[in-house]
């Protein structure tokens, strides 16, 4: 047992934090979110040049071959800074390709992702799928030597930024598949939207979109295993992101309790607020413990049931902690917590989103019960 980061992980975390402090402050982020595209090309290039986009990609494809534990500190920094660029979405795409792709697919796509040329989005949610990745109505059928896909995906996170989509569908025989779809394919239409947390999203309409035969990721029959494995990996990462945001919310609230005065004293002198503050700090530590557990378990190559259970237990804690800490951060900031002028309200919005991303507490309680 040992909770120290390695020297490499520590140095990386420091450089990411330095970058965020310098180039991703609250004002800079506001400008990015308000810009027409809703994401910054300059930031994306910088993430690539720091090696963050290739962190989880194997060396032979231009990356560093890291796992979730190596990305933990990066995700924490992203959570603290409320980064809206499609980092996690692109990591999901890269992991799907790396774990499920043929050598040719990997050669074709992974180096571009590591360099920052390719941005991805994972189009899996549909009108009635809720959080169940396997519940898919989008259809793909063989047509000559290619494929044709038809369907509608809802609120695809980071969809407007994507140059390539990973799209879930069912084939002629009802088998779950994952498809790589170029964003410029004929018949593909995006209906963009603003998301609660400042990200951009879109509905993705696939109307008779023709794809080459090598758009299929993973063999039929194991694509669902692949998708579940990668979603668990992403869930562990979003848990780590939550820890960064939770810690920010908790630190900012503590600072506010020490500076805001009422009745002639800092409001942190009041025991009613002190105890709530302490409970936020405890939640923060408990959340960190479970994020570490999830990242360690998805890296360990465990049997699926064990991995699922660890990830679900982590996400239950994270979802509860996201709600608890974000709500109390706003409450203890009083009216100021409500304003868009303070970062804490934006952190509130991201934490509210994370509480649901890849499944809320009820979804994961149910999943725990099944295994």
């Amino acid at each position: 047992m040992n909770f120290e980061y390695t020297e490499e992980q520590r140095l990386l975390a420091e450089s990411v934090r330095r970058f965020m402090a310098r180039d991703y402050g609250f004002e800079a982020r506001r400008r990015i979110v308000a810009s027409p595209g809703g994401a910054s090309d300059a930031v994306w290039s910088e993430l690539a040049s720091m090696g963050l986009l290739g962190l989880g990609i194997r060396a032979e494809y231009g990356g560093f071959g890291g796992g979730a534990l190596d990305m933990m500190s990066v995700m924490e920094a992203i959570g603290e800074a409320l980064v809206v660029e499609p980092y996690l979405s692109t990591v999901i795409g890269a992991q799907l390709i790396q774990r499920g792709g043929t050598p040719a697919q990997r050669e074709r796509l992974l180096p571009g992702i590591a360099e920052g040329a390719t941005r991805m989005a994972f189009a899996h949610t549909e009108a009635d799928s809720r959080y169940d990745v396997a519940r898919v109505s989008t259809r793909v059928r063989r047509d000559g030597d290619g494929l044709v896909v038809d369907g509608e995906k809802r609120v695809v996170i980071d969809g407007p930024h994507a140059s390539t989509f990973a799209v879930t569908a069912r084939d002629d025989e009802g088998r779950f598949v994952v498809l790589l779809v170029d964003a410029k394919a004929a018949g593909l239409r995006r209906a963009p939207m603003r998301m609660l947390d400042g990200h951009r999203g879109c509905d993705l309409i696939l109307d008779q979109v023709r794809l080459p035969a090598d758009a299929l990721l993973g063999g039929p029959g194991d694509a669902l295993v692949l998708a579940e494995e990668v979603v668990d990996f992403a869930t562990a990462l979003v848990c780590a992101e939550a820890v960064g945001a939770i810690r920010y919310a908790s630190d900012a609230t503590l600072e506010y309790l020490k500076t805001r005065k009422q009745f002639g004293v800092p409001i942190g002198a009041f025991q009613a607020l002190q105890h709530r503050m302490v409970d936020m700090v405890i939640e923060c530590e408990q959340a960190r413990s479970m994020a570490s557990l999830a990242c360690a378990r998805v890296d360990a190559g465990l049997p699926a049931a064990q991995r699922r259970r660890a990830v679900s237990m982590a996400k239950i804690k994270i979802a509860d902690a996201c709600r608890h800490v974000s709500q109390d951060a706003v409450q203890l900031h009083g009216g100021m917590g409500m304003t868009a002028e303070l970062k804490v309200s934006h952190t509130f919005r991201r934490l509210t989103a994370i509480a649901q991303q890849f499944g809320d507490a009820d979804f994961h309680l149910e999943r725990c019960a099944r295994d």
Partner: protein, 394 residues
């Protein structure tokens, strides 16, 4: 980062587990699993088995019988003892008076008391709380007046756990002038429970058990050489004690065992003809407490990892007590819920009814009894005050 036990930690855990399997007497283990009360003999018997093995006081210095284990090994040992259902080690001698003597005692005090604590010859209890001094401990009023080579002690202690078993009591008493600042003028005395003038009166708790007492001192003469540290330095000793050995307050091992038993209970109990554990409402409550316990076990390990790296965890370690006791209480509550209406029968009158289930009968009293955990050893509100003031600077 690696959340798994290292090979040498696995080896150590296996060794402890194998030893416990061989040396924990079955009737003591059964008593723990049956939520039965331990007698003085039970507690002393287990103490002496560990003392014989050399494992009774792992945290003590080697010269007084410590094992030289690092904090992680000590934690593994405690976790395994809890998991195996071993009787608790009563902390008053081993974890409280012992470390105080090692830190502040004279050579004579050390050689007089430490070996007897180690071997289980003396049973100790703690004289801190008074009727008017609970969380506000420094307001205590029990007075010790110097008379030649003795102090004459008059006053009352309360909530004194296992005083009815004890040979000795360590006490905080007021030796200074009445108008001195509260924390000053307090001294730390070791008092023989057989001294004339001491009366122990039991306090029956709501679960029907007897574990705490009132202790009255009426002109009790205590030799001056039984004062630890300087006169008036008792608060320094008390603070040292407060900060000492708070690592096992989370009681992870015991809670893990109770969680497993709760799952077994919920698998046996039925609702609408199906195992209760398949009932979504109940099962989700169970999962949530398991999540919290899993998280706390890792949080606890993170503190230990710091400690092993030479950085003493700060006052935020109080969170282990807060969350650990919340989990312990929740487990007792869920066990009672799992037993349903059968949990309401807490004991037989006269001849036991056929199939009377002593285990189920113990669940409700245990639920009642465990309300104490968030009150004792510094209430959870006091723990929050400690974190707020000392860790967060509020």
């Amino acid at each position: 980062m690696d959340l798994n036990d290292a090979p040498e930690e696995i080896e150590f855990r296996d060794r402890v587990r194998a030893w416990l399997a061989e040396h924990l007497p079955a009737e003591l283990g059964d008593r723990g699993l049956g939520y039965d009360h331990y007698s003085r003999d039970d507690l002393v018997r287990w103490h002496r088995i560990l003392a014989k093995q050399g494992w009774i006081a792992p945290a003590w210095p080697l010269e007084w019988g410590g094992t030289g284990w690092n904090p992680v090994q000590r934690y593994i040992f405690e976790e395994e003892c809890g998991y195996a259902g071993a009787p608790p080690l009563i902390p008053f001698g081993l974890a409280m008076c012992g470390p105080v003597l090692i830190r502040f005692g004279t050579p004579e005090q050390k050689s007089r008391f430490l070996p007897r604590i180690y071997n289980g010859d003396d049973f100790w209890c703690q004289g801190y709380s008074e009727p008017g001094s609970g969380s506000d401990l420094a307001s205590l009023k029990t007075r010790a007046v110097r008379d030649g080579d003795h102090y004459v002690v008059t006053g009352q202690k309360t909530w004194t756990t296992l005083a009815h078993f004890a040979d000795w009591i360590f006490c905080l008493v007021r030796t200074g002038a009445a108008d001195e600042k509260k924390q000053e003028g307090i001294s730390f005395l070791l008092i023989d429970m057989k001294s004339p003038g001491i009366t122990v009166r039991p306090l029956e708790l709501m679960d029907g058990g007897r574990e705490v007492n009132e202790v009255f001192f009426d002109g009790v003469r205590v030799p001056v050489e039984q004062r630890v540290h300087d006169e008036g330095a008792g608060w320094t000793v008390a603070k040292f004690l407060l900060g000492h050995e708070r690592m096992n307050t989370a009681r992870i091992g015991t809670s893990r065992r109770e969680l497993e038993r709760l799952k077994e209970l919920a698998a046996r109990a039925t609702k609408d003809g199906r195992p209760l554990i398949e009932d979504a409402r109940f099962r989700d409550k169970l999962t949530r407490v398991e999540v919290e316990l899993t998280a706390l076990a890792i949080t606890n390990l993170r503190f230990l990892d710091q400690l092993r790296g030479g950085r003493a965890p700060g006052p935020e370690i109080s969170m282990l007590k807060i969350r650990g006791t919340e989990i312990q209480q929740r487990l007792t509550e869920l066990a009672m819920m799992a037993a349903g209406p059968l949990s309401q029968a807490v004991g037989a009158v006269g001849e036991a009814p056929r199939d009377f289930d002593l285990f189920t009968a113990g669940l409700a009293p245990r639920y009642c009894n465990y309300r104490k955990t968030s009150i004792y050893a510094g209430s959870n509100e006091i723990q929050r005050n400690i974190i707020a003031k000392m860790a967060l600077g509020l």
